[in-house]
């Protein structure tokens, strides 16, 4: 729920309550005051009539029978409310009635004075209508005010939010938020700016570290490799040394490949790749299949390219090659001689299927680092974890399925 809607709801609740209470108090107050006024008027008339009768010594003439009755049914002194049917208006009309005795020429008469309360009711109605109208007006203007406030006052907040959404760690410039005169927002902006600066600094440090680590390790390896290659050129190199040199040489190569794979993994995890460009995945698949042709031929694999739709994905071209290369390499490497390699590329997913013995371990464990099917293999066993990391990086899903009939393993990348 929007902050504004929530505040409005509370405003509305509170003002409704206050209005109900206020109207109630006002109504009773006014009614009380008006009744008091009517009573006072009746008392004044009584005093006036009593005085006139004493002076004139005669009963007054009745001009308005509704307002004055002489010797009516009431024979007690009282001040009370009553309802009288008005034949003209065809409705019951409330009256305030006072009855009192007067003595004319030694004879006792009962006078009854009445005053219609219809007018006071009308006044109350008008007051209530006015109150309700004021309330509606107040609500309406409150809503409008809040809307305007939210558009105007909250603009810096929304700007900050937009800037944060669009912020990327890889971008070289730090997040710049405009100054705002509102303390809360300017504090927020300051905190956000500090946070992004700190995160960006950490990110840069990490990136530099991985790059330096790569550089510092690969350089000695390059020296070793070059020197060893020069060493084997020497025709005088004794035969027993050749074996040792070869072992060191292979170990150096292995180390370098391992290091490259690990550097790639940490770079993906640290999101150190720049924005992608549209990559034609079908072309990458074809190119990788061509590169693996020798290995497929040697294993006499049956290649089935089911669907190869022209699928384009926005990726770093190097990572696209690495993903598809690793999956295909895996499917060739763990295939049986004379087995099947099937590739399906559709807009929704890439499926690579190969024949192979059923796995004894949990297949998803193979995505873990240094997991190898064959412990003696020289490859570091990072291919599938690299593929998985690339999938995670681009929000793809890598899943595995096995069909016992035909012993078919399928790795599926859902885009």
């Amino acid at each position: 729920m929007k902050l504004l809607a929530r505040t409005n709801r509370y405003y509305l609740g509170l003002s409704a309550l206050l209005f109900v209470l206020g109207t109630g108090v006002l109504y009773t107050g006014l009614q009380h005051a008006l009744a008091h006024e009517v009573d006072e008027q009746l008392q004044q008339q009584r005093t006036y009539l009593t005085e006139r009768i004493r002076v004139t010594g005669a009963l007054p003439t009745i001009t308005m029978p509704q307002e004055l009755t002489i010797d009516g049914p009431t024979r007690s002194e009282s001040l009370r409310d009553t309802v009288i049917f008005d034949p003209v208006e065809h409705e019951a009309v409330p009256f305030r009635v006072i009855s009192f005795p007067v003595t004319v020429q030694g004879q006792r008469h009962w006078l009854t004075l009445r005053k219609s309360l219809l007018e006071t009711e009308d006044i109350l109605k008008v007051i209530l209508t006015v109150m309700l109208a004021v309330m509606a007006l107040l609500f309406g203007s409150l809503l409008l005010l809040n809307q305007w406030l939210s558009r105007w006052l909250w603009a810096p907040f929304r700007h900050t939010l937009k800037a944060l959404r669009g912020y990327q760690l890889q971008q070289p410039q730090s997040l710049v938020l405009p100054a705002t005169p509102i303390d809360e927002f300017s504090e927020l902006n300051q905190a956000v700016a500090q946070l992004t600066q700190r995160v960006a600094a950490d990110y840069r440090a990490l990136k530099e570290f991985t790059e330096n680590a790569a550089h510092e390790t690969q350089t000695p390896l390059a020296i070793m490799q070059a020197q060893l290659e020069q060493l084997v050129q020497d025709p005088e190199l004794p035969e027993r040394a050749v074996g040792a040199v070869q072992h060191v040489y292979r170990a150096a190569l292995r180390l370098s490949r391992l290091h490259q794979a690990l550097t790639l993994l940490s770079k993906i995890e640290n999101r150190q790749f720049t924005d992608g460009v549209p990559v034609q995945l079908d072309a990458v698949v074809q190119e990788k299949l061509r590169q693996l042709h020798d290995f497929m031929e040697a294993k006499e694999l049956r290649l089935e390219v089911g669907t190869l739709a022209p699928v384009s994905a926005v990726m770093h071209p190097g990572l696209a090659e690495s993903l598809i290369g690793n999956l295909l390499q895996n499917a060739v490497k763990h295939n049986l001689p004379g087995g099947l390699l099937r590739v399906h590329l559709r807009a929704a997913a890439l499926e690579i299927t190969n024949t192979g013995p059923e796995l004894r371990t949990d297949p998803m464990l193979l995505l873990g680092r240094f997991r190898k099917h064959n412990a003696a293999s020289e490859s570091p066993g990072l291919g599938l974890s690299i593929a998985e990391q690339i999938c995670t990086y681009y929000g793809f899903r890598l899943s595995y399925s096995f069909i016992p009939a035909g012993a078919l393993h399928t790795l599926r990348v859902t885009f």
Partner: protein, 241 residues
């Protein structure tokens, strides 16, 4: 075993090729210098950005080997300088950073090729030769070696003027050998040259063996001398004499 001979005698360039090596790591620099001089190139070295910058401003090279990470600057700036000066020199980047972005950026700036450290010297030589061939002969180029003539543009191989039919892999192997005459090429270097990232697949050494066997057989059938020698346990070598 004959003494090492300059390869220029074997694979003919019309004139001597001048190369600048920009590399800050001393052991690697001397190894490269030693290796390329043996390969018949005229080499100069620069230890840092400043030296390299001075040299490329003063002299003309056929090819510049640039390390990207230098103590006092970036190799990428050297590439920029060369391109801004419209230099005719080919540029081969060698970098330990291995970052795909560096590679893309380097090639976008106009570098001819990019080699990630560590690399095989034979691979470096093959790339270097291909850059120099592209730059110098502009289409009209062929490689001559003993009784072989090769036209890389047409992927045509002649043995004693008779065409020789080779598979793609055999042809690649032959060209790789020709780029590195008189050198032991390790199986690992050959595998990586041919299959790149897939070189550590289990069977690659067997393939190399088979391809070499077939290549030799074809050469022999055409009456060529047997100049491809197997160096036991290590790899293969193309002998100039």
């Amino acid at each position: 075993m004959p003494p090492l001979r300059p390869a220029a005698a074997a694979v003919v360039f019309p004139y001597s090729v001048k190369i600048l090596i920009v590399e800050d790591e001393a052991p690697l620099r001397t190894t490269l210098l030693d290796f390329l001089r043996h390969g018949g190139y005229i080499c100069e070295i620069a230890e840092n950005y400043e030296q390299a910058h001075e040299k490329i401003k003063l002299y003309q090279y056929d090819c510049v080997l640039v390390d990207l990470t230098l103590p006092d600057g970036s190799g990428l700036d050297l590439v920029r300088t060369l391109k801004a000066d419209h230099s005719l020199a080919g540029v081969l980047i060698i970098s330990a950073r291995g970052s795909l972005d560096d590679k893309v950026q380097g090639l976008e700036l106009g570098a001819d090729d990019y080699l990630q450290k560590p690399f095989h010297l034979a691979e470096l030589n093959a790339r270097l030769r291909s850059i120099i061939r592209r730059r110098q002969f502009q289409g009209q180029r062929h490689i001559m070696f003993r009784d072989l003539t090769i036209f890389p543009d047409q992927t045509l191989v002649l043995v004693k003027d008779q065409p020789l039919t080779l598979t793609r892999r055999e042809y690649d192997l032959l060209l790789f050998l020709l780029a590195n005459p008189n050198r032991v090429l390790t199986k690992e270097a050959i595998a990586e040259h041919i299959w790149g990232d897939d070189a550590d697949m289990a069977d690659s050494f067997d393939f190399i063996y088979t391809h070499f066997k077939n290549l030799r057989k074809k050469l022999q059938e055409h009456g060529a001398d047997n100049y491809i020698r197997t160096v036991y346990g290590l790899g293969y070598k193309l002998e100039t004499a």
